[in-house]
Symmetry: C2
């Protein structure tokens, strides 16, 4: 599959000659061919217009047909798994096993959403049958269900070139909901994005769907991204990235003449509370687990544990000794882009002025273009509470230890926390039971509470919540991972007094799909008397 | 129950002496005692602080206990139904039968939410059991459910002094979700609000709940309202009112350091499409039905049909003749406030410069202080498309006929429509089937599609959707009426790897509440092996 450097505008390819975008191998600094052409504003408009034109057809496409389409994309990606992982490896320097796994995660995700829409109950059909004899007034028949929002603009993320990118969770869930998707490809992995988009474009054609169901645009966030968010026909936005960029998009979406939902996943310190039992159970293993988690993917995970709270206990010294040893001996990491590498150095230098540098890996030699060395900072609770910058996420292989005097101080720390994707408690079950107040508080601060695990590693499943209060995300009522994420892209529509034949099949009396519905508030898969 | 003029700050009453607010009898112009004192900013802060303090306890209160609390409020309101309706009648000039009915609607609504939380399945519990043997990685046990957002600020609405006010749908659904509520009482019916708040304050005490679960504040929208929306501890806002005020609140909520959801229900023309069969079936009855709908509650319903699209047919003349006759003979109406009455006159005068005044009721004599006469305007489709102001809602007893040449022109009209709460189709089933393209288009423009009914009269039930795309509401993904409205106030929280005894009862293996849950994606009420 040769790469061309052109955007995907429905079934067409974009023009060449726009502002150039070229990926770089973060390990070597070498520029990677081809050069990508940024789209023109006319091309952005055309992609959105095509999406809007495709919407009536695609939104009325059956769950079975949408499922087949998603499976076709998954099959296509599986078919080029090695090529995809290799290109992604060149563009991100992430290790091949991780990237091969990320292809599987991505296709598994597509198939999970396929299963959800094939089964069909996700639309939350509700029927309140007519009560013509009710006094003082008859009740008309009411039937409602979730219907898709319309064209969705998806911003690819730098840190998951597959699972949060062109065919990632946002695209999969929006397509599953019945929304056409326009992806703004991340400029750090355009080749990976082109490979994926080629598969999707072919799947759209093979499924006989309108071309506007999928477009993928190369361009800058400032121009192409803003044009998408401001386009009157775009109905929702998804984004995973920095707090600054995410908030800019949120503000832009809120300031539109017609504001639209903007799902940004931004910044999370993912606090970890080390309760006494965790240290007693094995402080070396604990140090190893924590180190592995905050350096996984070179610390470029949304769920990296960046704040670790612990108390002084007999075992603390051994834990710290081991952790410092692991950090000091860590091999150099390669970050995703020169910009991220620069930011890591800058943020680390600033942190060193506010906290103690407890351990540091040797700096990289001459090899990688985007180097980073693991770092461990340490501070006191008082300092942590006094200096807001210590709560800010640093994107890269570092973490901050916050030394508390007593477990009671954990409550003070938790009260001061902003919103996070996760909050973790490590310890014995007795510890956990004793810290019920802390749990109740953390529930208000995070979308996922973890006991005796590490926050990195996000299951794609039904019960997963990958979200959390601001600034972790724009809107804590939604998740961007797992099947609940489809609900970002749908709205309820009610049909009152309609003849049975003219409502969507999900709402018809016979319930031909056999989905679970709420009949007068009671869940049932039974047909209704017409 | 004597009225005091003081706000409700948790279990206390507010100070007297703030800026005065006094209700007025819209029928007579008489000022109504007592004078109400606006709260101070310290009182606003205290109410919100109390709500935040109450949140951990109230959010952990069982569905059964929340249900008993809501039923207690309903019983209390039923106990003072005549007194409530009488005071509301003085403050709004709405007819007594309507207000007596509105008390019942309000208490029915509270009991409906009680039933929802007593049953408990609304929390959408999801469990993905641990798979310790899974390769390559074990899956931790994941359990998630909806948990309440936190303190909610509710703005009372002018047009439903009970059902959309202190104990209205917003309060009922937020309390049901587990959120403390701070109501900003509407200044047009402070006495009604005080009576209702007295009942709620007593119910909070009788239920043994923390006092901060409910407060009600008298004050201006600009000061008290803004202070609530900007308060860092407020987690969501609900509002029903004008587009201008609603958008201001939306912008304020979006501009906070931590943006919060702001549910505003604002402006809707509720277009009605008269298909040929409707005229054939009886043009006089149709005229009567339409007239009754747009003048119901003096035209002060969110769902008033303000835009009526019809084609030239043999029966059209008779329909118009009858409609004009009804309008010309209509008795004068009394609007809710002098401001609304002024706005009605101003908006009608402006409309008369853009559309033809087809019929008009005689102006009121000297009696009411807030008079309005029914009006019928008429225009062509081309004019309607040319002049955006013709799409704007006029709050009061008027409607606008939009004359189309052919049913095909309905599509052009529908394409140009903004978001609305409802869209109505009147006609035969054959008409409806022939207009499938129109239905598909209207689905994108409204939250509720009505066939052969009128949009006024909103059922409080499970399948109801009272929402719609902007500017009808801030967020088309939610409804403000019906049991779906509880989802405005909740967010999913996931517990990973937690011991069974330490997760909320809804997520425990034994499923002691017997609620419907999603186990590995499959709905079930069965217990799980622990």
């Amino acid at each position: 599959m040769p790469l061309t450097g052109q955007s995907f505008i429905g079934s067409q390819r974009g023009a060449l000659g726009g502002a150039p975008i070229q990926a770089l191998n973060p390990a070597t600094g070498q520029r990677l061919d081809p050069v990508y052409s940024s789209v023109s504003s006319a091309e952005v408009d055309r992609a959105v217009q095509l999406a809007a034109k495709a919407f009536p057809t695609y939104s009325a496409t059956s769950g079975k047909a949408k499922g087949a389409f998603l499976r076709r994309i998954a099959d296509g990606l599986d078919g080029i798994q090695p090529q995809l992982a290799e290109r992604a490896h060149l563009e991100t320097a992430l290790p091949m096993p991780r990237l091969l796994g990320e292809v599987s995660r991505t296709t598994g995700q597509l198939r999970l959403f396929a299963a959800v829409v094939e089964e069909g109950s996700w639309v939350e059909a509700r029927i309140d049958p007519a009560l013509p004899e009710r006094k003082p007034l008859a009740r008309p028949g009411l039937r409602s269900m979730l219907r898709p929002l319309g064209p969705v603009a998806v911003f690819g993320a730098s840190n998951f070139p597959l699972a949060f990118s062109a065919a990632g969770g946002d695209t999969a869930s929006a397509l599953a909901a019945g929304c056409p998707v326009i992806v703004k490809a991340h400029s750090a992995h355009p080749g990976t994005s082109e490979l994926v988009a080629t598969v999707i474009q072919q799947a759209v054609a093979a499924a006989g769907l309108p071309e506007g169901v999928f477009s993928l645009l190369f361009g800058s966030g400032v121009e192409t991204g803003a044009a998408l968010v401001r386009h009157p026909l775009v109905q929702a936005v998804t984004f995973t990235g920095s707090l600054g960029a995410g908030r800019t998009l949120m503000d832009m979406a809120a300031a539109r003449p017609r504001p639209i939902p903007c799902f940004t996943e931004m910044s999370s310190g993912n606090p970890v509370f080390i309760l006494p039992g965790a240290l007693r159970a094995g402080s070396e293993a604990l140090a190893q687990g924590l180190f592995s988690s905050f350096t996984l993917g070179a610390g470029q995970f949304c769920t990296k544990p960046g704040i670790v709270l612990l108390t002084e206990r007999p075992e603390t010294a051994r834990f710290l000794e081991k952790l410092c040893e692991l950090v000091a001996q860590a091999q150099p990491f390669t970050l995703l882009t020169p910009g991220i590498a620069r930011d890591y150095v800058r943020a680390s230098s600033h942190r060193a002025t506010q906290a103690t540098l407890a351990a540091q890996a040797p700096a990289a030699g001459s090899a990688p273009a985007c180097p980073a060395n693991a770092q461990l900072f340490s501070t006191t609770l008082d300092e942590f509470l006094r200096l807001p910058a210590l709560s800010e996420e640093i994107f890269g292989p570092d973490t901050l230890l916050v030394r508390c005097q007593t477990p009671g101080e954990f409550l003070r720390a938790a009260e001061a926390l902003d919103g996070h994707l996760t909050a973790t408690l490590l310890g014995s079950e007795e510890d956990l039971a004793a810290h019920w107040e802390l749990i109740a508080l953390l529930e208000q601060k995070a979308g996922r509470l973890i006991f005796n695990g590490f926050p990195t590693g996000v299951e794609v499943s039904h019960a997963m919540v990958h979200g959390g209060p601001y600034p972790a995300t724009a809107d804590s009522r939604f998740t961007s991972v797992g099947t609940r994420s489809i609900y970002r892209f749908a709205r309820p529509v009610c049909f009152q007094g309609f003849p049975d034949a003219l409502v969507p099949v999900e709402l018809q009396a016979a319930n031909p799909l056999g989905i679970l519905r709420l009949i007068d508030g009671v869940p049932s898969r039974e047909p209704l008397p017409e």
